[in-house]
Amino acid sequence: MTLLGLDNLTLTQTAAYVGGAAAMGLGAIGAATGEGFTASRASEAIARSEEHAGDIIKNMLVGQAISESASIFSLVIAILLLFMDISDPGIVKAASLLAAGLCMGFGAIGSGVGAGLPAGRSCLAIARQPAVSGRITTNMLIGTAVCQTPAIFAMVVALILLFKSAGGIAAFPTSAALIGAGLSTGLAAIGSGYGGGMAAGASCEGVARQPETTTAVTTTMLVGQAVAQTPSVFGLLVSFVLMFRSFPESTALSASVGLLSAGLCMGLGGIGPGIGNGMTAEGAVRWVARRVDYSGDLMRLMLVGQAVSQSTAIYAMVVSLVLIFVV
């Protein structure tokens, strides 16, 4: 069976190149935006407190390096896609390579922008409270590292898709399932990466405002970020089901479209709750720093609020799983 009248090797090679371009093209958006935000805040911080320019620049560079890692993942996947040996060309392999590129490209957006937020806001925090610059940088590092998780999920899925053996598998609906798998993790990572960054940004400001609340602020940040990562974990789950379940051969259009739709549903559905959970965590962290005596109340309210916001991601997961297993 051929597609578009192309022979198998041409089709697979084309898909690999398009995938590589998507991985790097989309993957550059997040890191560039995030690092630009960091640099702009660093300039502002140096203007306010030029005698601490050294600390601020160091902090900016460390933060930007972490934000950059999302796009380095994209670069690695893009280079692999451009130069890898294709041992089993065909429609399934073509879909798998295209999906790997899309997954990494979309997956790097949220983490790149998200890691830029705490990096930038920590520069301002150092200008405000230079005495605790070490503590602010540490807190920023923890926060940005958690922001990278969704991009790492995307890289894991992209690598599995790159090296998945495609020999002897019927073209449809497996190829549609693989593209769905790439989109599910890739798109769901956008919200979680960005949301995690919002929480981390507020915690850097919080540490500068009230250095003695650092422990409570960091704890609230980590709990909030962990909940904000859930939508990307749901995305990962749906991807794994789509990648590793063997689907009976069917050339019916609805079988293929259903599996693609399952991936899209979870991917898109994860974006909003990821950002919403991040917003909630940001609000909670900011106020834990100001009213640390009420940190228990704030944590409770944050978790209740996040749980409600999470519900739509759960609906999306339910619809995805129904599309995979029931319809």
């Binding site: 994860g270 950002i275 609020g305």
Partner: protein
């Protein structure tokens, strides 16, 4: 390959279900998160009213949730009824 009309309709319904729930989840997710963020702020400013503020937040979120539920209903209708 030739695609029959009924097959195309079924495929469109499945794609529609995914898009309905996927896109429909974005708004409530962000909106409810915003409501909860402001509720945290309000409790920070006025911790004595924590009970009232939590109730208000939940009522507001329930209303914001309704569009997510509409999306879910439409997705399930597309999957099982249409």
């Amino acid at each position: 390959m030739a695609i029959e009309g009924a097959e195309l309709v079924k495929a469109a319904a499945l794609l529609g279900a995914g898009l309905s729930m996927g896109l429909g989840a974005i708004g409530p997710g962000v909106g409810e998160g915003m409501a909860a963020a402001k509720a945290c702020e309000a409790i920070g400013q006025n911790p004595k009213e924590a009970g009232l503020l939590t109730r208000t937040m939940l009522v507001g979120q329930a209303v914001a949730e309704s569009t997510g539920i509409y999306s879910l209903v439409i997705a399930l209708l597309l999957l099982f009824v249409v």
